[in-house]
Structure formats: C-alpha cells, structure tokens
C-alpha cells in the first residue's frame, strides 16, 4: 500500500509543527499557492511503520551478502555513521567563517593527504559528489591542460570496450568524441589497436586497472608510454581501487588523473543509490586545474582555496563542498584502518575473490578468463548453460535472491556473453563465501533438473519477476489520487 492510500483528511503529526502565527503576510496573492500539494496526511506512527516495513523489502549489506561486481559492497562501519552525526558536524553551515570551521576543515585536509598517499598523486580535490562527477572533472582537467598549451586539435578520448558506461558518457559531456578499442582474448587491451588508435587527435585514454574484466592490465607501463608519446593523458577510473589499495598506486603506473569512489573503497554507505563521493587526484601537470574548493594548511590553521588562489581551476562542481558528510565518513574509515589496514583491504578482497573463483571452477562453472588470476572480482560466463539448458544469467541471478544472496552484476561488461561479475569484498568471511558457492552449485543442479524454477524466479520475495517492458511503455511515474 502506498503512503497516499493511508492518508485521512486533516490527520496530522502536529507535535512536529511550529506554533501557528496569526499575523498577516505581505506577499501578493498572485505569488501564493492556491491548492495543496499531494502529500499524505498521516500520523507519526503510520509514517514510522510504513517506512520501516518498506525497508524490510530491501536487500542490503547489513542483511545479505551482496557480491555486486564493480560496486564494492563492503561493510559500512556503524561507528563512523554515528560519529558523522555529532552535533558540531551535523549543524555546521557550509558557509561558516573559516574560523568556525576548523574541525571540519582539518578532516578534509587529512583526507586529501591520505588520498594523495594511496594514489601516488600530487594533488587532490574532494569536491566531486560521485564517481561520474569525478570523471567529468578529470576529463575537463585534461581538456584545460591541452587548451592551456594551445594544443586544441585533440578532440578524442580513447575508451576500451570493457569500460564502465560512465566513461564514454563523461567524455561526451566534456565535448569529446569517443574512440573505442577492443580487448584481446586474454583480457588485456589489444596493444596493436591502441597503437593504431593514438595520434595527434588523442586527448587521453580512460582506463581502470584491474579492468572491469577482473584482471590486471600487465602492460600498463607500455600503454602509458604509447599514450604519453602521442601527447595524450591517462585517466584512471578508481572504481576498482579496492583491488590494489596499498599495493599499487595509479600514480606509479603512469596515470595523470583519477577519481576515487569513496562509497566503494572507503566504505561509505551506498544509501539505496547514493550519496557517493568521487574525489579527483592528479599528477603534477594537472594540479593547477583541480576543481575548487580545497583546503590548505598554513601554520596551524586551515583555509579554503577558491578561484582567487587557483585561477586556472576548472571551477566549482557543487554549491558548497561536495558531499561533506561522506568526506568525514571516508576519513574516519581511513583512520580506523591506518597504514596497515590499507593494504589488507586489497589482500583480503583478492583472497576472497580467488577463493570463490577456485571453488566455482571446481563445481563446473566457466571463468571468462580461465588463464588469469582474479583481482578483487572475476567473471563467470553462462554461455554454455544458456545453450544447453536454455537458462540465462538473469535466471541464475534471480534464483540467487531466493537463496538470500544479492545477485552479482549481470551482463556487464557487455563483451562477455551471459556473464556474472562477482565481487565479494574483504569484509566477508570464508563461511559466507562457502554458503554462496553452495547456493550456486545447487542452482546449477536445479538448472538441469527443473529449469523452470530458475526461469520463474524469484519465488520468495515480496514480488515475482516484474514487467519492465510495461513499465517503460505505459509510464506510471507518479500516483494520482482517484
């Protein structure tokens, strides 16, 4: 039932209202609203009960294993969430004087420094509010760099076919054309194709390493030389940073600019789709173009850097300081991990991924890149099962939900048919991973014995398989009272 269907005229939660004031207002009638908006009229208990009940229809990290590849669904520490709600942080206005913001600014500054250290970069700006905004900022910096040198003919960004969809979309938002290059059968980028693709039109290349195929691009240094020699810059998509945190630094691989997904690697909550955090880190050449504001430290005092300090900045990306509360949470997580904890993240994320891969392989599943070591994630392809048993990756994913596991990422990357991208993260125990593998094995058996069980899954959730075609054809995006 929708909240609107519980509404009763003139029911209200008046304890939340401010006191009524009977004085007149000097606003002309033409500027006033005449009707009431469609908001429910319900009691406080009804609100709490309705949304508590809705919450129970969600899968979440707190309730289920969530091996959603490329999304790094690790535990979000509760202590961090609680501390972000401290009154001094929560009620702090973004435009307070610097002298009244030293607490928040010290946290911001510290996170900038930590991110520089783990990425091997020279400058960091925390303001991008999500990975895609970080990508936009990164590509805009690449453009600003070329323009400042009068190198204006470069109008192309190279993107591998396995890249996240945001990469080409971000390049286009910055006014670039996109050139796609293929991946070889071993999961590495085809070097010949790269050599053929670069030229005086190349502004840069966008990559993630390990790639979205869950394997490490071994010739990365050679690639960086090819692109740099052609005058282009390298962008690192930080979506997969969890795989190499404290082990390998993008700056050392030859990247010039990158973003970091705080909601992945730094454990800030995903919140049903956001907020995220997408700080950008850059090498020496791009430091002047970083988006503002940033925090600097002079003596013992912190100060905001704005356009007056950074005349070549690409500018502002948010009304204030990006997702401040996410910045705080990421810093706190980093401080809990400390220097030792950082590289353990990559180690145990990789251990968990390779463990599931080994067990699934033994159980008869097909890895997409059987000769390769998994990074923090890996792909299995159900191409064979689709052909022989007439079941799809979607069917397996939906059946997993019945077993109480969130499904892996499906049908991404697009170049692997019938694929599932599995990322367990470091915070899951061996016992959880074993149960997941058991469920997969059982589902494979079901696919042979009773494939309809998969095709009609899920069976145990609040709804059965939903009609997405109808949703798109007969748009019903808002409730209308009858």
């Amino acid at each position: 039932m929708l909240i609107f269907e519980q509404s009763q005229k003139n029911r209200s939660a008046t304890v939340q209202y401010p006191r009524a004031i009977s004085q007149k207002m000097d606003i002309p009638k033409a500027l006033l609203r005449q009707d009431e908006p469609l908001l429910p009229e319900v009691s406080e208990l009804e609100v709490v009960r309705h949304y508590t009940r809705l919450s129970r229809k969600n899968f979440s990290i707190d309730t289920q294993f969530y091996p959603l590849g490329s999304c790094t669904m690790k535990y979000n520490p509760r202590g961090v969430h609680r501390l972000a709600f401290l009154e001094g942080f929560l009620n702090h206005h973004p435009l307070s004087l610097d002298s009244q913001s030293q607490g928040f600014m010290s946290c911001t500054y510290e996170l900038q420094e930590i991110l520089k250290a783990v990425t091997g970069m020279k400058g960091v700006s925390l303001t991008p509010m999500a990975g895609a905004q970080g990508e936009f900022a990164g590509v805009a910096m690449i453009r600003a760099y070329h323009q400042a040198r009068g190198d204006v003919a470069r109008d192309e960004i190279i993107v591998p076919d396995a890249a996240h969809g945001t990469n080409p979309a971000s390049a286009v938002q910055c006014g670039y054309k996109v050139k796609e290059i293929p991946t070889g059968a071993d999961g590495n980028i085809n070097m010949e194709a790269l050599r053929a693709a670069v030229g005086p039109q190349t502004a840069g290349i966008m990559l993630t390493n390990p790639s979205t195929l869950g394997v490490f691009e071994q010739k990365i240094k050679e690639m960086s030389e090819i692109v740099h020699k052609a005058g282009g810059l390298l962008y690192y998509d930080g979506a997969n940073l969890n795989a190499i945190l404290g082990k390998v630094r993008p700056g050392d691989m030859g990247f010039d600019v990158m973003h970091i997904n705080l909601h992945k690697t730094f454990a800030t909550p995903h919140g049903g789709g956001g907020p995220g955090g997408g700080p950008v880190a850059v090498g020496e050449r791009l430091v002047p173009y970083l988006p503002i504001p940033m925090v600097t430290k002079q003596g013992g005092t912190y100060r905001w850097l704005t356009e007056e300090d950074c005349p070549d900045t690409i500018g502002r990306l948010s009304a204030f300081m990006g997702n401040g509360g996410i910045i705080l949470r990421a810093l706190m997580y980093a401080r809990l991990l400390g220097k030792q904890g950082m590289h353990r993240v990559a180690e145990f994320a990789t251990l968990n991924a390779n463990y599931i891969l080994a067990k699934l392989r033994t159980a008869g599943f097909t890895p997409a890149y059987p000769t390769r070591r998994a990074s923090h994630e890996f792909i299995i392809t159900l191409k064979q099962e689709a052909k022989e048993l007439h079941i799809t990756a979607l069917d397996v994913a939906k059946r997993l939900l019945d077993y109480g596991f969130h499904a892996p990422t499906m049908y991404f990357p697009l170049l692997v048919p019938e694929c599932l991208l599995i990322e367990p993260t470091e915070t899951e125990s061996k016992q959880v991973l074993d149960r997941f593998v058991d469920a997969m094995v059982q589902i494979l058996q079901e696919a042979k014995d009773n494939p309809d069980l998969l095709r009609s899954a899920p069976h145990t959730l609040p709804v059965k398989r939903l009609d997405e075609v109808k949703a798109a054809r007969e748009l019903d995006l808002v409730y209308r009272a009858c």
Partner: protein, 471 residues
C-alpha cells in the same frame, strides 16, 4: 584486523583451495616494480574509542550558538523519526535498485518521492534525484537545450539573482559543451529581475532560469517572467526552494502555461546542514519532455502474478545502456537523502509544510523589522521576500561577522566579493528555528559588533600571497 573476519585457519584453507602458498602470490600478475611495500604518510590505525574522542574534539570546534546564514543551505527542525528510520541498515546499506525484486522498499519509496516532489512543483513527473541543487540546475539547462524544439538557439539566460555558486557550477558543467550563458542584471531597487531589463535581452533563447525565492530572498514576478520567456521560445526552468513551494505559487502554475522544468536543492526537506552535503538535487518536468530527463526514474508496473511492483524505468536514456549517447553521465543519485526527505514530507503533510514556510516568513520579517531600528542598518531591497534578506551595514561586513563570531553567532553571509555593487551587503536568514529571543539576541549583538568593528576593510590582510600547502 579491522573489518576483516578471517582467522589464521580460514586463510590457510583458502590459500590451499586456490593452490598458492601465500596471499602475496595472488598479486603475481602485477609487475614487481609497480608494487609498493608501505605507505609511510598514513598514520597508524585507531580503535573506535580513540576515533570517537578525536572526532568529538573536532566537532566541538565547529559548534556555534546561533546561525543566521542561509544562502542555499537552511537550518530547520528535523523530526527524530526522519533519521532514525533513514539510518536503518536496509536503507543505508542497499545499493542502486538494479535487482528490483530485492529492492521494493527503496523503489516504492522513490515512487512516493517522485509523486510528492512533482506535486509540490505542480509538474507531471520527477526523477529520483541528482547530486545537489547547483548540479541539478546544470542538468536542467542541458536538458532544456536537448528538449527545446522551437529554437536552435544555444543561448541561456540566467539572472544574477540566481545563487552565485549555482551560476559558477553551471559555467563549469555547461560551459564544456559550447552553450552560451548570458547573465541578466537585477533591478537595484527591488533586487529582482524585471521586464524592463529583459526587454534589452529579447531574442530567441533555449532556456530562461527563474529563481523563486531568489538568492536575496526576494520574490520574483514569476508569471510575467515566464510569459516573457515563452515569447522568446525559451523553455522556463524554475530553480526554487521546495519548502517555500508549500506557500508560494509552484513552477507548474507560473504564467499562462507554467514553467517547463523545476529544479533545486532538496536540503530544506529533512536534510541536515552537515558542512554542505550530502544534499540532493531535485528535477521535475512536464511529461512531454520526460525522455530528456536525466538520472534514475522509477515506474510502477506488475509482476508475473499481476501484483503491483516498482522498477527503474526509461533506462534507455542512461549511461550504462547508451554509453556515449546517454542523456547524462550520471550514475549515482542521492537515494539516502531522498529517503529522509520522503519521510520528512510524510510527517509534515501539506499543512505542516505550509505552517513551516509561514513560520520562516514571520521569523525573517520580525528580524527585518528589528534590525531596521539599528542606526545605519538598511534593508537593501523593497518588495516581498521569503525567509532571507540583504542588509546594508554602515561598516565593512567581514569585520562585523568576525565580531559576531566572538559571541558564537554566525551573522550571515558577506556579499562583498560576489556582489560588490551592494555596498557592505550582508545576506541574512531566519527560519522557524529562530525564536523572538534569538532574534533579539542577534539584534543586540549586531549593535555591539557594529560599535567594535573597525572601518578598515577585512580583505586587506588577505592580499599577502602565502604559498599554499597540500593541494
């Protein structure tokens, strides 16, 4: 090991299953010369108890007694139930609802949110949120350029009464795509955009942005501006305070045919100030341009038994399907903040929301009447306003704000840099959280601050260039 559950035995068993001797062997495909041994610049790890102590000390530094700053982020009462329920792990730690059947809670909530926000704006549809108000305005402009079929013009008119940071963000984002942005000056008497000024800028345009209330807190003549813009074949984008729309005429009702798009900052609806975020941007439009709407959108449908359910829909607009041809690169939204806002709007209902808007209006007007009695202090603009106003002080504003800070009062936002034409301009806000006593306290301390503040410009000391560390 923080947040890593593995026992020694687990590790041994797992390595043996994989067939390697040690964890380090799992990194054997990474060239050895790229691997680092340690991160000396990062401090040792803390326990949660140690971290709590450190963070309490830092948070306390930023506590203030009274805040009279608005300028796009507003202090309001947030019922305890809002964040108690929002912080449930099932909302907090879920991700984008790609698996609809396992995400019906978030999806239904988003459908309810879309209904509430579209109705508040008096428009047909809403998306499921964008990053914040400023980036929502940038997306609204890109959307208008795509959707406007009446003109090929790439000209956008933005009044200078739109938040300066919003205009800056628009320039950063929209400026990459060769769209021409023309700023419209304001009437120095009313602090609003007038037809007299607009006549000089006539001609085709892709979009015209109308703020309500505007950055100065003043109310624009939205009907006249909307009709004028439609005559120039421009789509009208309202950038509005959503809380104020419970009291003021909503964008869909402006002029003869209504604004085409409404966007803005969702923060006033249940989201704490929190140093500027996370907030969320909202974006609503008329239904004929819904296919140009960026971001996630939830639709109602049925399952194989014919039972009602909710899914992400119109995904063919989005980056993960369309890649380089998507309407936007946006992927993440601000679901958690929308969760809080939906609960907030449900608790307040239509009457509560209007009551809050009225209380804001009255608090600000009490402040306005009382500050006017201070010798030398003037209200900068005539005409109606909502919960914010510009004052002209007899002394440099930055010095006065420093004086007020000594009483732990955040006295407002200095306009010296953003609007130098308003001499000693101070933007000040009072919401329903301010009592008569708070307002009296402000007025009294402002008097003292004006007596103590020096006449020298506060900015002079900042002209010394200091090499910045740590960028």
């Amino acid at each position: 090991m923080p947040f890593i559950p593995h026992t020694e035995k687990d590790i041994k068993d797992m390595l043996s299953t994989i067939g390697v001797a040690k964890i380090e062997d799992l990194f054997d495909e990474i060239p050895a010369n790229l691997r680092i041994k340690e991160l000396p610049a990062i401090p040792e790890g803390l326990t949660e108890m140690e971290l709590a102590r450190l963070m309490r000390e830092r948070a306390e530094q930023d506590l203030s007694a009274l805040c009279f700053i608005g300028a796009g982020a507003y202090e309001h009462h947030i019922p305890a139930a809002v964040w108690e329920v929002t912080s449930r792990g099932e909302f907090l730690t879920a991700y984008t609802p790609y698996q609809a059947e396992a995400s019906q809670g978030t999806l239904q909530l988003l459908y309810e949110y879309q209904t509430m926000m579209a109705s508040l704006m008096a428009l047909d549809v809403s998306n499921a949120s964008l990053y914040d108000g400023a980036s929502a305005l940038a997306e609204a402009i890109l959307m208008a350029v795509r959707a406007n079929r009446q003109t090929k013009s790439q000209r956008i008119l933005i009044p200078q009464t739109v938040h300066p940071h919003y205009r800056h963000v628009v320039k950063t984002i929209v400026g990459q795509q060769g769209i021409e942005i023309v700023e419209v000056p304001f009437d120095p008497k009313t602090g609003t955009t007038t037809l007299a000024i607009l006549q000089k800028m006539a001609g085709e345009a892709a979009a015209f942005v109308i703020p309500q209330p505007n950055f100065f807190g003043a109310l624009e003549d939205v009907d006249a501006l909307t009709d004028w813009a439609h005559q120039q074949k421009a789509l009208v984008i309202g950038v509005v305070n959503p809380l104020a729309m419970s009291l003021l005429k909503a964008p869909g009702e402006w002029g003869q045919t209504g604004a085409d798009i409404a966007c803005g900052e969702g923060q006033p609806l249940g989201v704490p100030l929190a140093s500027g975020g996370p907030y969320y941007g909202f974006l609503c439009c008329k239904k004929d341009i819904v296919r140009q709407l960026p971001g996630r959108i939830v639709g109602r449908t049925v399952d194989t038994d014919g039972k009602q359910g909710f899914v992400l829909t119109l995904q063919a607009r989005e980056q993960h399907i369309r890649r380089a041809k998507a309407t936007s690169n946006i992927c993440t939204n601000q679901g958690l903040l929308v969760t809080a806002s939906t609960i907030y709007m449900s608790l307040m209902g239509p009457k509560g929301l209007k009551r809050i808007a009225e209380a804001c209006y009255h608090a600000a007007h009490e402040l306005r009447e009382k500050v006017k009695t201070i010798p030398g202090v003037e209200v900068a603009f005539t005409g109606p306003s909502f919960h914010e106003m510009v004052l002209r002080l007899p002394k440099p504003v930055d010095a006065v704000l420093d004086e007020l800070a000594k009483y732990r009062i955040q006295g407002g936002l200095s306009l010296q840099k953003t609007y130098p034409q308003i001499e000693n301009g101070l933007l000040v806000c009072a919401t329903e959280t301010k009592t008569s006593q708070d307002i009296n306290e402000y007025v009294e301390k402002l008097k003292l601050a004006l007596n103590h503040a020096s006449h020298a410009s506060h900015n002079e000391k900042k002209t010394v260039t200091i090499k910045a560390e740590g960028v």
